[in-house]
């Protein structure tokens, strides 16, 4: 018998064929499905890790940005403060200067007034003296005799003072 009949059932052949299918199942599982699944899981992990890294980087960038923004805001505030301080300082200095200059002017005025007062008093003294002298001379000439100088002076002084008061 060279060939099998076209329909011939052989138990061992059936068992071998069943075993063949099981073997091929194991082969496919071990050499095709498992490696492919492993590499896919690995890829998924890598992608996940990349995402996490990107998220972290973005988070850090956000933090940096916030930090810079805060810093910029702080710097702006500081600049404002400095300007305000400077303005205040300038204002106060201005006032001081004004005050000082006013003071000086007052002093000058006061001094001038005092000078004037003194000059006037001096002038009045000298005038008074001259008037006394002149009036003495005149009265000596008129009366012809020397009057008591001191009495006379007192008399005239009072007269002149009265004159000055009425003026």
């Amino acid at each position: 018998m060279q060939n099998l009949d076209i329909i011939s059932i052989n138990i061992w052949q059936i068992v071998i064929s069943l075993a063949n299918l099981v073997i091929l199942f194991l082969i496919l599982k071990k050499f095709l499905f498992e490696p492919v699944k492993k590499i896919k899981a690995q890829r998924a992990n890598e992608i996940e890790a990349e995402y996490r890294k990107a998220d972290k980087a973005r988070h850090e960038a956000d933090e940096l940005k916030n930090g810079w923004e805060e810093k910029i805001a702080a710097a702006d505030q500081k600049a404002d403060e400095i300007i305000n301080e400077a303005v205040e300082l300038a204002n106060s200095r201005n006032e001081i200067m004004l005050y000082e200059s006013r003071e000086k002017a007052d002093q000058i005025i006061r001094k001038a007034k005092a000078d004037i007062e003194r000059d006037r008093r001096e002038a009045r003294e000298t005038i008074k003296k001259e008037i006394v002298d002149v009036s003495q001379a005149i009265s000596e000439q008129i009366i012809g005799r020397e009057i008591n100088m001191d009495d006379h002076r007192d008399l005239i002084d009072t007269a002149i003072d009265r004159m000055g008061e009425t003026k």
Binding site: N3, N10, I11, W12, Q13, V15, L21, K29, V36, I39
Partner: protein
Amino acid sequence: MSIIFLILSVLSFAAAIAIKVMFVPASQGIDIAGAHIFFTIKMPVQDLPITESQVNSWLIIFGILFLCLFLTSGLKTRDISVRQLVAEWIVETVTNLVKTNMGEFFEGFAPFVAAILGLSAFSSLSSLLGLFPPTSDINIVGGWALLVFILITYYKMKAGPLIYLRSFGQPVPLLAPLNIISEFATPVSMAFRHYGNVLSGSIISVLVAVGLSELSKMLFRFLPGVLADFPYLRIGIPAVLSVYFDLFSGCLQAFIFAMLTMSYVSGGFPAEEYAARKKKREQRKAAREAVLASNRHKGS
């Protein structure tokens, strides 16, 4: 490096052709017979003849093994090669097919379904290489169907043998004999469908080829000498049939066999009863542990 696997894969098919050329005598005329027997091994119950279909299916398994090794060598996570793309496509497609047809619970069936698809398709397509297609041997396909039958019964029994036995009395106990017959008819019909399709394809091909050569002899009788005997009509015309019977029918039968396997296994599996049983078992386990824990507590 990986190209060696591809060469080995091709070599296993070449080996099948070489064996056929060396050991199988050429057939003459109309010759419809089973696989060629190389030698017979004495075995209990029944002798085991080592036939073309056996050898071819082993060589096909080797071919698929080396093909897998070729596809999965040098897997990378990025910059993937076309090879890896093909491997991933195969895995993904079969896994999706299994998931949609059988549900998440049977996801582990993906390599098995891939094995059925691959073995059946390669076996049927091996006739394109002039080999004896192992799928046209009832014993080969019968073995697969028997394995599928075992799986079906195993998954039916998963919710308890009692539920399995009770399912024969559905919907009326009177139908029990019919249910038992249909249970055994499942693997038989699967085996015969596949085997019959492939075998009938080869038979029709042979008949058509012979018929065409006779027809051409009749039509070209007027030509002188040897020219009259040349079968002109056998040029090209049988190829059209071969496209249907070998290519289309081979792939289609592989797909049908895989689909039937999936639907029978998942359809026979009583998911609700299994879930209930699992839950009950877990509850019992928890109760036992609670008792144990209380005993230990008392002991200490």
